[in-house]
Symmetry: C2
Subunit: 217 residues, 2 copies
DNA sequence: AGCTTATTCTAGTATTCATTAGATTGTTAG
DNA sequence: CTAACAATCTAATGAATACTAGAATAAGCT
């Protein structure tokens, strides 16, 4: 309990707790998932493709940094991000990474970039078109994530139901598909399917976190 | 070189490189120092109170994450942040830490909070008063940091020259002292000194990074 | 009550990281 | 050229971390 450290060190140590939480790829993936809406440990583990034990351990770290909260509901434990600032931080750190790390930009390009990307510049324009019904904004995430938060005027058809529900989409209009954000491939797959079926489809490489829309409980 | 990993993992791994860079207290302190302006390894080590070897090792990490750049000038190596987005990230992570971690707020309160704090709400108001000359905005950081970037209408008197240069300050006006940001104590010490000498002095717990002012090369 | 499922806790291991000391490179000053 | 200094590199150490497996809780379900 002696303290030969500078008082200042205590401050940076606290900030570093946030950095530590953000220093593991898996934890970042969990944060991104939680930005879509609250989820159980089980669901998080499944979607991040890790064991529940490991998910639990990482969530423990996130909770130790006060970035997420939990609520016990019967057999399940529900995790959610502590507030929208956490989602903003996720956007800030992945944006900075995209800005600074060529490697990241290369991987992103390899993964998705075809002529079917929508430049993420003009949000107001997209909303205006969607309001007038001139484009269809399509949320292809699981239904519960759509319920927790979605882009303005978006309609929900989860990716795994898309093939069966194609009839719901008007064929003349451009479909703008989005999912969890730039690292999620559901919208890419949706666009591939839609184009194969003759639709005019584009991928919006942004999600609710990037648009600053916080999930509701 | 086999790759049984999901392609997605590569993305989060890249983002985690930024998180790793931000997971060490010392590296965060170095980033904050570099937000004040470019510096040599030697200067950084001195101001962060660590050995040059350790500073060099940490700076190596920061450069590996592309957050800082270097330039060799004769015997010295000059480090600077790669761009203003890095400074914005520093502000984002320390703000999130202040929002989420009670421990951090407690340490900050213990360190500085007296009745002489200026609430950091009204920047425009402060600038207006400073423009009209109704308050003196005083930058107490070392002179080179003032030259690299400073708040609007601020004048420079480094803390260690303040005692000798008190005559430069008009006694009737409120002096608003600032330094490197909320974790820096130079402004606090300046305010203590000024009040002891009969000045009306307040501490602004923000610096150029928090105001979004990037240092010039 | 027993059985199943969701979650956490405890150990154990392999790996990574922070830090220090010693040797090395490159540059300036005498 | 040599001495002094700035900075980096290498190697070594102890501490922290990610992940796995096994046991322990705890809440439904039958």
């Amino acid at each position: 309990m002696n303290d030969p450290r500078r008082i200042k060190d205590l401050l940076y140590e606290q900030v570093a707790r946030i950095g530590k939480a953000a220093s593991s790829p898996k934890r970042l993936e969990l944060i991104e998932l939680l930005c879509q809406g609250e989820k159980t440990v089980d669901a998080l583990a499944r979607e991040a493709a890790i064991s529940m034990k490991l998910a639990s351990a990482h969530l423990r770290e996130l909770r130790a940094a006060n970035l997420v909260e939990t609520e016990k509901q019967g057999k399940y434990v529900i995790y959610r991000i502590a507030n929208r600032q956490v989602a903003d931080f996720w956007v800030a750190i992945h944006s900075l990474a995209e800005d600074r790390l060529v490697e990241l930009r290369l991987v992103i390009e390899q993964m998705v970039s075809h002529p079917k990307e929508l430049a993420p510049q003009d949000r107001d324009g997209l909303v205006r078109l969607a309001r007038k019904g001139e484009v269809v904004v399509l949320d292809v995430r699981p239904a519960d994530e759509y319920l927790a938060a979605h882009l303005p005027f978006a309609r929900s058809i989860p990716l795994d139901e898309l093939k069966q529900r194609l009839a719901e989409l008007p064929k003349g209009k451009t479909v703008v598909a989005y999912c969890r954000g730039p690292y999620c491939l559901m919208a890419r797959d949706a666009v591939d399917l839609l184009r194969k079926k003759g639709y005019d489809a584009l991928r919006l490489p942004e999600g609710v976190a990037e648009w600053g829309i916080a999930p509701v409980r």
